[in-house]
Point group: C2
Chain length 475, copies 2
């Protein structure tokens, strides 16, 4: 398919962003619909992005001492009910196994929507003394949440994620963990995905079911809608009490542990598409792109062209670059469009005349800048060009983020601006019911708290403010 | 726990191998029982072994052009029924979701016991022409098989594995794939895990439900029992016909594709324990050991000891060795026993006198050999010592394998030898019912075919032989 076809076949990015998104993720082979409603198949190109993301995050987790493990997917129904807010939050969307091995089960099994309850059950068994603490484990796995309205990557019945679960001896240590992991998520978004994020504590209404406090990172899509891109929860002693996680402290006294949990998921791939994509398709930041440089031979039947392309590919691979040499029978023009649509950051074209002149032509996906590089120095220059692309993509997205934020103290202005693809920064009283009313009227929700400030008035009810908070619509 | 305690607390390896196995996997923190009967929690030390295994196998898959992807876990009940032998093979052990999102489902969902049916459904959608072939995808995921008798790693209701699924245009290409992947599995077992294996085609009775032919690798445990450690299936056109995977061939004619599937799982960790372990606990081959070298400071309060240990650790890490420096408050004696039990291949002891003499004391887990190494050359010597340990562990296991095999043409001898911890190599007629009778009488099954040979008599029924095949009891 050439780019002309692509542009014709996908919805217009400006007038139908949601349609554009679905068209792009399907047509660039990131994902397909699974046979069961609301499920997705992550195709190799999409999965390769997930692998890059896993590899970066996993390394960061291990550097701070987190260990990977694997806990069973089936949770006895009774476990979920132990923590009152937690069951309330998840009960409506769980999938339930009632038969197994040809028999009806005596206790129904919940397919994990998240694993706090079952992991805490094991921690209660393992943790005896302060010497056993902290315990910090992470698992990469699938989870199931039966959603009514679904969209590939953003909201699906089954998705992939990592969930970290810790227990500490003191509330301070637990809070440090919550912030440490949030900071890693900020780096995943900003350094790896080139997605600038808002970050901070979520309001009481928006926190995780069962948490004392939830912190999150929020990315702003091109249409001004927000996407919760990662969360880090301080669970206090809530789950420790529900699961009886107790340890003998240094004074020989039994105490409940302080736990946290934190997760990011395949929805980040959706964010990647919606933050960077344009009317030509995907635009992938080099740090997460499965293919960073595609080499396209021009007049490949001419002597020495393929050989030179292979030589450049080998030199780039040696320099640590993820390269694809496409020597298939398709025309160069077809290939130019194909890899542009797939968001490959840099394209190199090498033909007989280039070889004669000792150069390759390169085209950047982000700026569409076209220039020539000496073949002698290409292996050292490409890595720095990739860095420039990465930085530029972050800068452009940051500018979009900054432009999207409107500070206002007027409710009608807030609603109008948000309906006009903006995010509002406004004062709020912190009252759950007040927040609920705004949401019921407008579908607008709070995202993360900007700063605590009681010197203003709530934008909705007019009472004393508690904090300044971002409001927006969400995916 | 010191080693004396350990030896006391675990079952005797010679008289109660099954009890020894369970004790060892639990006490060395590889695994724990999950709350739901038959499930397991893979603890960090066990999961780290799985990560080494994944990393090796994944690299090998990618080198031969396989791509990773992810397919949904829930399979519509009707899919499983499409292939007659397949549903018969798996129906008795599936877990079934009947409720989700607060409602009874109109079609029940099977939690994947394996993904042939759902992956073939997608392939049927994606594959149109011979130009789309081959398609070769792999996924790392969890699967569920509701087993009555379970044992950690070896047989659990839920386990982790990889499953590769391919479609080719010709039966020859499919058969090549089956053999290529089997060869990779042989390397996983032999080169990574130091486990010598028997390999070959399985009999009609023992093949995968729905396959034309199954090939497998079989490892022999210390008690002479066999463990199926990996399988590679030629599915012929069976699943292509069931799922309607058709492609236009070069002559413009619609043809069914030829598919294969292949998998290895967390049960390999069980094999690792049962092939190499001894009365002191685990014994891990360096190539898969999460910790290859443990450094234990002696008289660590003395000036310079910890610093020197750290220096050695840094040098080894730089040399690509997976090192742990244990500077915890436990006694050196406690640590010696702890890491011996955990199967760490090499222990380094460094104390003030060693430092004075410019040496470190090293102890091999496999041979218990103790010697000294110059601190100046330790970073170059350790990698070659690790190679020696790896080779020696393979050689010892190979000797056990060779010793376990008894060639016999007499049925009673075969049964007696197998009951006496051996594996028999005997002729068989190839008849399913004949094989079934042997199994019903003795629990002995065929493992893999050694060679086709019709010049002998079947060891059971006396009719003309079809092949020479390994017989044994199994985990």
């Amino acid at each position: 398919m050439n780019n002309q076809d692509f542009v014709k076949e996908v919805a217009d990015i400006n007038t139908d962003f949601a349609g554009w998104y679905t068209d792009v993720v399907l047509k660039t082979d990131l994902v397909d619909y699974g046979p069961v409603k609301g499920t997705m198949v992550i195709k190799p190109y999409g999965y390769a992005i997930w692998e890059q993301l896993q590899s970066y995050a996993d390394k960061r987790f291990k550097e701070v001492g987190v260990q990977n493990a694997y806990f069973p997917m089936f949770i006895p129904e009774s476990y979920l009910k132990r923590e009152a807010e937690h069951v309330e939050g998840f009960a409506p969307e769980v999938a339930v196994v009632t038969y197994a091995g040809g028999q009806e089960l005596s206790e129904k099994l919940i397919v994990r929507p998240t694993s706090e309850t079952i992991i805490c059950e094991m921690y209660a068994k393992w943790i005896k003394s302060y010497r056993d603490l902290p315990v910090r484990m992470n698992q990469w796995c699938n989870v199931v949440r039966w959603e009514k309205t679904t969209r590939p990557f953003l909201r699906t019945s089954e998705f992939l994620w990592q969930e970290g679960h810790t227990v500490y001896a003191t509330p301070e240590d637990a809070q440090d963990d919550v912030e440490r992991m949030l900071n890693i998520y900020i780096d995943v978004a900003q350094k790896l995905l080139a997605i600038p994020v808002l970050n901070g504590r979520k309001t009481e209404r928006e926190k995780f079911a069962g948490a004392v406090a939830t912190y999150g990172i929020e990315a702003i899509m091109r249409d001004g809608k927000c996407l919760q891109a990662g969360t880090s929860h301080n669970l206090g002693q809530n789950f420790a009490k529900a699961s009886n996680i107790r340890f003998l402290n240094k004074d020989g006294v039994l105490e409940y542990g302080y736990s946290t949990s934190w997760g990011i998921s395949t929805r980040l791939i959706g964010a990647l598409v919606m933050v960077h994509g344009d009317e030509r398709g995907l635009k992938l930041p080099p740090n997460v792109a499965p293919i960073q440089v595609v080499i396209i031979p021009v007049a490949s039947h001419k002597e020495g062209v393929i050989e030179k392309c292979q030589e450049v590919a080998d030199a780039l691979i040696k320099a640590g670059v993820r390269v694809k040499l496409d020597d298939s029978k398709n025309t160069p023009g077809w290939k130019f469009n194909e890899y542009e649509m797939k968001g490959v950051p840099v394209r190199l074209e090498i033909g007989p005349r280039d070889i004669e002149n000792g150069v390759a032509t390169f085209v950047r996906r982000d700026t569409r800048e076209k220039a020539q590089l000496s073949l002698d120095t290409i292996a050292t220059e490409i890595p720095s060009i990739l860095e420039q692309v990465q930085q530029n993509m972050f800068d452009m997205a940051k500018q979009n983020l900054d432009n999207a934020i409107v500070e206002t103290d007027d409710y009608n202005t807030m609603v109008n601006e948000i309906n006009n693809k903006k995010v509002a920064l406004s004062y709020h009283c912190g009252d759950k019911d007040c927040e609920e009313e705004i949401k019921n009227k407008t579908t607008i929700k709070t995202r993360v708290i900007h700063s605590y400030d009681d010197t203003h008035k709530c934008i909705y009810c007019g009472k004393q403010s508690k904090y300044r908070v971002y409001f927006g619509k969400q995916y």
